[in-house]
Symmetry: C2
Subunit: 387 residues, 2 copies
């Protein structure tokens, strides 16, 4: 195992009906609350009013910032930060999907900062503090409720970049299966792809041998695939929704990669450029890009991808199989599984033309987190996603 | 999945040579340090002097409390607490096995308390605070470096009881494989049994279905068995020692049981009485008692034990197998494995006579954590451990 540090102080509260306790949890960190939420789905379901009631009953004064969209925008974060300063907000409550949580995390940082918050996304400055944050997630996908990450779209520059800081660990995150029962099939599937990508990206590029982390990663992948199918077959299954929520938290909560050493997240870096340009759902973009990245790694990291194929994707090893052959059978099987749950698997389905690949590749290489992913490598990977 | 709360704020620092950084980590919490350690092995290996140097170089004033023994005693904890008050200790550093860590945790609580600290073990009062604690564990076993538990022997009353409190989560725990290279074979094996028992006890009695937790638990069990064998075959293997250390932290760090609902730890409750009386190693006692408890649960929880047998112990299912038959084959195989790594598997090997069973059973039922484990159940279980 490589050296590692593990730290995740977020308190997870899981259970059906736990959404009613959000007021009590938030009030522990202050009484002046900014409630960040998305568009209309939470209001339609009636949960929005119940959340506000719970906060008010716990003695909180609630300011609301609504309208967070998928691929969340910097402009709304700046508006939220301004609101925090004006209303002397003490704690932020985020109720929604990953976009809502990432917006809330960025607001939590920006509210305490006097400079240009985009500096943090460009790695020009280091985050030194944030308002406390309590989250309640309505969709199993990003794992933002249990980690240090936030991804934001800068609509001015067309960049979609991330921040990472221990200051934006949520203090408490409530996982309530009831809140994701009404999630449509496409978003359920895209969420599952996002969860799987969070595990596979590190798994397939880990330079260190960390057998316990491998097995925990495999556990989370197996259960995600199983419960995604079940949630699509039976959308009202609280069991399926609950298991998916917990898989999503574990996938990016730091449990799976200890001892792996430095890994790369090329599929994410590539996908962020595609969804920034096409506004496709993050999970839809990943369904196209991830198998292409896996095929790319099947050459230099064949043994690890062969292990994935055998232990997770159920690929049988024949006596004369090479590791690369096993790896590729795994990738192809995974791609078929993605198509079977209704995901796009080619760039064309996202409206990206083959002729645009060089231009995308050039932009991808400019991401401050791209690292070794230069334009040539990005182009090679994207070409795997054509057919 | 049943409702659950998960919270574990301990920062884990894993790596070869990380022991040198203990001073820096401890100094973050104060400069007046109580260093708690065991008997001579740490001094013989030369690590003790290096730890003290690291602490002094970081600007700490070090008071030392040495001589913690296996089955750690309350008297030494009280002495340590008195030392803390006299020397105005700000932070405790614990370097050793589980006994050292549990002693340090108890001192951390007792130093801030004016009453009888045994009240907390008898569940008469609730712990409200503790000094900050940094640990460096030299043996893979109790997982005390990553949890809220401490088990102490009261030599006055003959009781061996536990406390559980979020206040005694270590702030930082360093896992350095170098420190456990010299661990003798018997303690290596007993440590592995302790790790496995921490997982199996909950796994086999979980009333709730939590498939991801099941798989994480199975992951930790498989890797523990694999690396225990390897550490016995090649005691100087840093890979084996490191993997065992991490398995031990994960086993009792709260990752494996989320959604299981309330579980029982009867093997621990029974074993504490046996080691309190015979002074046998905790892991040796568990090797005798745990298979007996597993056999007991094979009746009322056959499906779960059958899953354990198939997924972890490699038992094959034949067409006409009942769950109970599979479960029992698993238990018998596990017992053979325990014997194969040099563990006792019968009460006789611990010096406990069959005629003493009723007396033990009576005492076991008095443990405040015994719950449904009454004298009759304890006697039935102990009789399974005779032959």
């Amino acid at each position: 195992m490589r050296s590692f540090q593990y730290h995740n102080p977020t308190r997870i509260i899981y259970g059906e009906g736990e959404y009613k306790n959000i007021g009590k949890e938030v009030a522990g960190f202050g009484s002046k609350v900014l409630l960040v939420t998305g568009k209309s789905s939470l209001k339609r379901s009636g949960y929005f009013d119940q959340v506000v009631s719970s906060l008010r009953e716990a003695g909180c004064r609630v300011s609301v910032l609504e309208g967070v969209e998928p691929n969340p925008r910097l402009g709304l974060c700046l508006k939220g930060a301004e609101l925090c300063r004006r209303e002397r907000i003490e704690v932020i409550a985020a109720v929604g999907g990953g976009s809502v949580l990432d917006t809330a995390k960025t607001i939590a940082v920006a509210a305490l900062d006097t400079g240009d918050v985009w500096d943090f996304f460009l790695c020009k400055r280091k985050i030194t503090g944030a308002l406390p944050l309590v989250t309640m997630v309505t969709m199993a996908a990003t794992g933002s409720e249990f980690n240090t990450n936030a991804v934001i779209n800068n609509e001015q520059t067309g960049q979609k970049y991330a921040i990472h800081s221990e200051h934006i660990f949520p203090k408490v995150s409530i996982l309530d299966p009831l809140l994701s029962l009404s999630l449509p099939a496409d978003q359920t599937a895209y969420g599952a792809v996002d969860i799987l990508s969070h595990i596979i990206e590190g798994y397939q590029t880990a330079p260190g041998k960390a057998p316990l982390s491998d097995r925990i990663a495999e556990a989370a992948m197996k259960e995600t695939m199983l419960w995604a199918r079940r949630a699509l077959d039976a959308p009202q299954s609280k069991e399926a929704r609950g298991n998916l929520l917990w898989c999503s938290s574990v996938a990016l909560g730091g449990w799976t990669w200890n001892g792996w050493g430095p890994t790369t997240f090329h599929a994410h870096t590539i996908e962020h450029e595609i969804s920034a340009a096409t506004n496709c759902a993050h999970g839809a973009g990943l369904a196209v890009v991830l198998p292409a990245v896996m095929r790319f790694h099947s050459r230099n990291n064949a043994a690890k991808l062969a292990q994935l194929a055998q232990r997770v994707f159920g690929v049988t090893r024949y006596w004369n199989d090479t590791a690369e052959a096993l790896a590729l059978r795994g990738v192809n099987g995974f791609k078929r599984w993605l198509a079977s749950i209704g995901c796009p698997v080619t760039l064309g389905e996202l409206g990206v033309e083959e002729t645009q690949i060089p231009e995308y590749a050039r932009k991808i290489a400019l991401n401050p987190e791209a690292g070794e992913l230069d334009a040539a490598m990005a182009e090679e990977i994207l070409r795997f996603a054509v057919g």
